[in-house]
């Protein structure tokens, strides 16, 4: 930088002029004075500079100012970027970043250091926005904000669909067109918002929060039509990304065209390539739903029908087996068996009593014949007791048999010949009631006969008898 130090400063005397005899002419400067003059010289002498270099030792102070060093292989330059300028930077200053810095040289007087006061930084070889995008993407990805398991499902049939976009844009028009075609009775809530320009990201975030709190809104489409990267920039801002991630309602991002990818797309629960596509994603066509339910209903009915048919088959197989075939015949046979048993029982009981009585008589006869005097009384008593017991036992056995018989007879009543009497028939006996008279020839006039009726009997005298077959 020639010229700067060659030119004599107006108010500075030549310090090297040793020959000057007058000491009073010597001007002694303070450190501050000279520093101030250096500073003035630097600031006015260099003006605005563009400097290319790599960032190192970068530190953000809590004042918001950023200090760093710009370096190349052989030299270093201290630099500062004040908060007021740094605020407008889209990307973050990082060590190792190759940049072009715009600024002015100045002196930090307390330390006597010269430094570059940086007003603007640009990444070298690529756009600042591109870099900012990559930086934020890396950061949020590291935080897990893009993780697949954070994505919530979009409801199949949303109650209300929230839309956050510009009222003037093509996006809204496209979305509404598709929605009304696919699901004519959808309920839509639109929250108009500015989608580009300074502060747009914050506005969109605010709109998202507002629409998420509308009762019934269970999915939100946020987006805009196509544009330059600057136009779409709001959707790459960290504040909006975080709002989308924290949104209590699933969010579908729909920004620009298919090729435009924004940070919002990564954090959203679903990314739609275009606003129209978002509308198609958010509602399955109503007709498709009807068809789906119809198919399920059809399958339900088919399943029920086949279930019933299966049971019918099983029943058919069971009833056609020997076990159940002709069950009614078997029931009838069982009835006959019961009546046979009853007869048998009656006969057996009578025989038992008779046998016991005979045994008893035989024993009594034997006892008497032996003429046992000693203990005769006791034996007699035992005998009497045995006799009583026998009677009791036999009686009980008979009673039980009789009770069972009565019960069975009651059931078999309809089969009993006596039941016929109730219908008006009568039975004619010989007088001593030992035989039933079946032919007229069995009696002669003057014989006495007995007639059993349904209720009671009558004694009769035969006046005449007529053979039926003679």
């Amino acid at each position: 930088m020639p010229g700067l130090f060659d030119e004599p400063f107006e108010d500075v005397p030549r310090p090297r002029d040793e020959t000057a005899p007058v000491r009073a002419r010597r001007r002694v400067l303070t450190v501050s004075d000279v520093t101030a003059e250096i500073r003035t010289a630097l600031e006015s002498g260099f003006g605005e500079l563009w400097i290319e270099g790599e960032i190192s030792n970068c530190r953000v102070w809590n004042t918001g100012h950023v200090y760093f060093t710009l370096k190349d292989p052989t030299a270093q330059l201290k630099a500062v970027m004040f908060r007021t300028a740094y605020r407008y930077l889209k990307f973050k200053i990082e060590d190792g970043l190759h940049v072009v810095a715009r600024g002015r040289l100045s002196v930090y007087e307390p330390k006597g250091e010269y430094q570059l006061v940086c007003e603007h930084l640009e990444p070298h070889g690529r756009g600042a926005l591109q870099l900012a995008f990559e930086q934020l993407k890396r950061k949020l990805h590291a935080e897990g904000l893009f993780a697949a398991d954070r994505k919530r499902p979009i409801p199949a049939l949303p109650r209300k669909i929230g839309i956050v976009t510009s009222l003037d844009g093509a996006a809204l028009r496209d979305i509404l067109k598709i929605l009304s075609r696919r699901h004519p009775n959808a309920h839509i809530v639109v929250r108009p918002v500015r989608v580009q320009g300074e502060g747009a990201a914050e506005d969109i975030a605010k709109a998202l929060k507002a629409i998420a709190s509308v009762p019934g809104v269970d999915v939100i489409i946020v987006g805009r039509g196509g544009g330059s990267i600057e136009d779409l920039w709001a959707f790459n801002e960290e504040s909006l990304a975080r709002t989308i991630a924290a949104c209590p309602v699933p969010v579908i991002s729909a920004v620009g065209h298919e090729v435009d990818v924004t940070i919002a797309d990564f954090v959203a629960d679903l990314r739609a390539p275009t606003p129209s596509a978002a509308a198609e994603m958010v509602v399955t066509a109503k007709e498709e739903f009807h068809a789906r339910i119809d198919r399920l209903h059809g399958r339900l009915q088919a399943a029920m029908r086949s279930d019933v048919q299966r049971r019918r088959n099983v029943l058919h197989v069971l009833t056609s087996r020997r076990g159940l075939a002709g069950w009614h015949v078997r029931v009838a046979m069982q009835g006959r068996h019961v009546s046979e048993l009853t007869h048998g029982l009656r006969r057996a009981t009578t025989a038992l009593i008779a046998r016991r009585a005979r045994e008893h008589q035989a024993r009594a006869a034997r006892l008497e014949a032996r003429d046992v005097r000693r203990g005769l009384a006791a034996i007699r008593a035992r005998l009497a007791a045995a006799e009583t017991r026998l009677h009791v036992v036999a009686g009980r056995a008979h009673e039980r048999a009789a009770a069972r018989f009565t019960a069975l007879a009651g059931r078999l009543d309809t089969l009993s010949p006596l039941a016929v009497l109730a219908r008006g028939y009568a039975v004619c006996w010989t007088e001593d009631r030992t035989a039933i008279i079946r032919q007229a020839s069995a009696v002669a006039p003057g014989d006495l006969v007995r007639v059993t009726l349904h209720e009671g009997e009558i004694d009769c005298e035969v006046r005449s008898a007529h053979g039926s077959d003679h």
Partner: protein, 85 residues
């Protein structure tokens, strides 16, 4: 409507589960009938739900007020193109 049926989503999911279960068979007659009945209810619910909502377009303004779109945007609800101004 049946209070045990929450929304379209859960109803169609339950219907699907019931159909699967019935198709697998192996149920008692009582259970099969019970499921069938429930399935019919669910499918009716779903059809009804699809027709239930009426088309509405509302604008949520800066003050948090909901306004019908045609009043807020100068659109009619039948304006298919959603004409922007």
């Amino acid at each position: 409507m049946d209070p045990t049926i929450k929304d379209f989503e859960s109803a169609s999911a339950e219907l699907e589960a019931i159909v699967k279960k019935m198709e697998e068979g192996d149920l008692t007659l009582e259970k099969a009938l019970e499921l069938y009945e429930r399935g019919v209810q669910l499918s009716r619910f779903c059809h009804a739900k699809l027709e239930e909502a009426e088309r509405r377009l509302e604008i949520l303004n800066e003050r948090g007020e909901l306004r019908p779109a045609h009043a807020a945007m100068g659109l009619t609800p039948s304006d298919e193109s959603g004409k922007a101004r």
